[in-house]
Each structure stands twice: as C-alpha cells, then as structure tokens.
Symmetry: C2
Subunit: 118 residues, 2 copies
Amino acid sequence: MRIPILKLNQYLLITIQVDLDDKTALQFQEDLLEKIHETGAKGVVIDLTSVDMIDSFIAKVLGDVVRMSNLMGAKVVLTGIQPAVAITLIDLGIMMKNVPTALDLEQGLEKLQQELGG
Amino acid sequence: MRIPILKLNQYLLITIQVDLDDKTALQFQEDLLEKIHETGAKGVVIDLTSVDMIDSFIAKVLGDVVRMSNLMGAKVVLTGIQPAVAITLIDLGIMMKNVPTALDLEQGLEKLQQELGG
C-alpha cells in the first residue's frame, strides 16, 4: 500500500495510519521526495498520531526523509508522536537528531510557518 | 481500527486510508460527531483519495454523517473521490444527494471557507 500525500497550499500533509513496514516506508520516502519536486512544496507535516510502534529502521527512514527533504528545500515537522512511541524510542536509544517535532497538526503547521517566515 | 480525526484551526480533517467496513464506518460516524461537539469545529473535510471502493451502505453512512454534522452546525465536504468510485456510485444508482464534494483537500477547504464566509 502507498501512503497518500495531500497538498495544502504550499505544504504537504501526510497522516500515517498504518504501522509502517520497511517496504512501505521506503516507498513513502520515494513518493514524498517526488511530490516535493513536483509541487515545489516549502514545508511538510508528517502526522504519526495513529502509529503505535516505530522500530529503529523506520526511525532511520523518517530521519533520512527529513534530511533529504531539507536538501531539496522543504522543511519537515513530525507531529503526533504517541507517548508509548516516545518511550520506546528513548528506551531503545534511538535518537531522532535534528528532527523537528510538534504536538499536533496545528502546532506543526505553526512551527513550519515560523521557520519559513524567519 | 479507528479513523483518526485531525484538528486544523476551526476545521476537522479526515483522510480515510482504508476500505471502510460497516463497523469502522459507524465508529467513524460516532467519533466525528463527538469531535465536532468537543472542538466546536465549523467545517469538516473528509478526504477519500485512498478509498478504492464505496458500497451502498458506506455511501449511506457518509451521507448521514454529512446531514448529522450539519444539524450540529458543521459543514462537511467530501474530497478526492476517485474516478472508479464515482463510476461505481452512479452505476449502482447511489446518489449522494446534497453532499458537497470537491476535487482535493485544497479545493475542499476553499469551498468550506466560501460557504462559511457567505
């Protein structure tokens, strides 16, 4: 399955609603970069509200996608990381370095607007 | 599984990424009405970009949810209906009467803004 990527003005919006397996995650990475290229989006919000579990591979893919998007000129914010997911990430020693996060979609878009405005 | 409902300013945003079975659809109906009550949202966009198939029961539930939300004071727009889904709906004689639709999320939000402004 493919994760749908919605366009909202100059932003892209992705709500991940399935537990990501490795193949889906890599497909998503590719799709998102294509979409940034195609739309010229300035910012991306990836919402993880419905994700119950992130393992080290998925965390790496998400970290990579943030850095790749930055290279292409689009800022990315991850939102809606569940308490249990945050606990697991830290317990496993998985650091999502330099990955901007926010509580929810609303605050994620605000963060993007601040970063793009500044 | 439950369909996540995101809040974006005065709007609620739902992207349905699974083929809805009857139970999930009814749960979604209940969740959405609760969320409208809780947040006081003025408008709702339900994006169906990733839905490949809608049967008559699901069409009825979606139609009902639009009318129920209207009763509670929130406008609803359905967006991203796939060509194949549109063909099936008409072929089956399923009319989604008085259900506002738009091409994509962007145009759906515009439509809501127009309706709420007017």
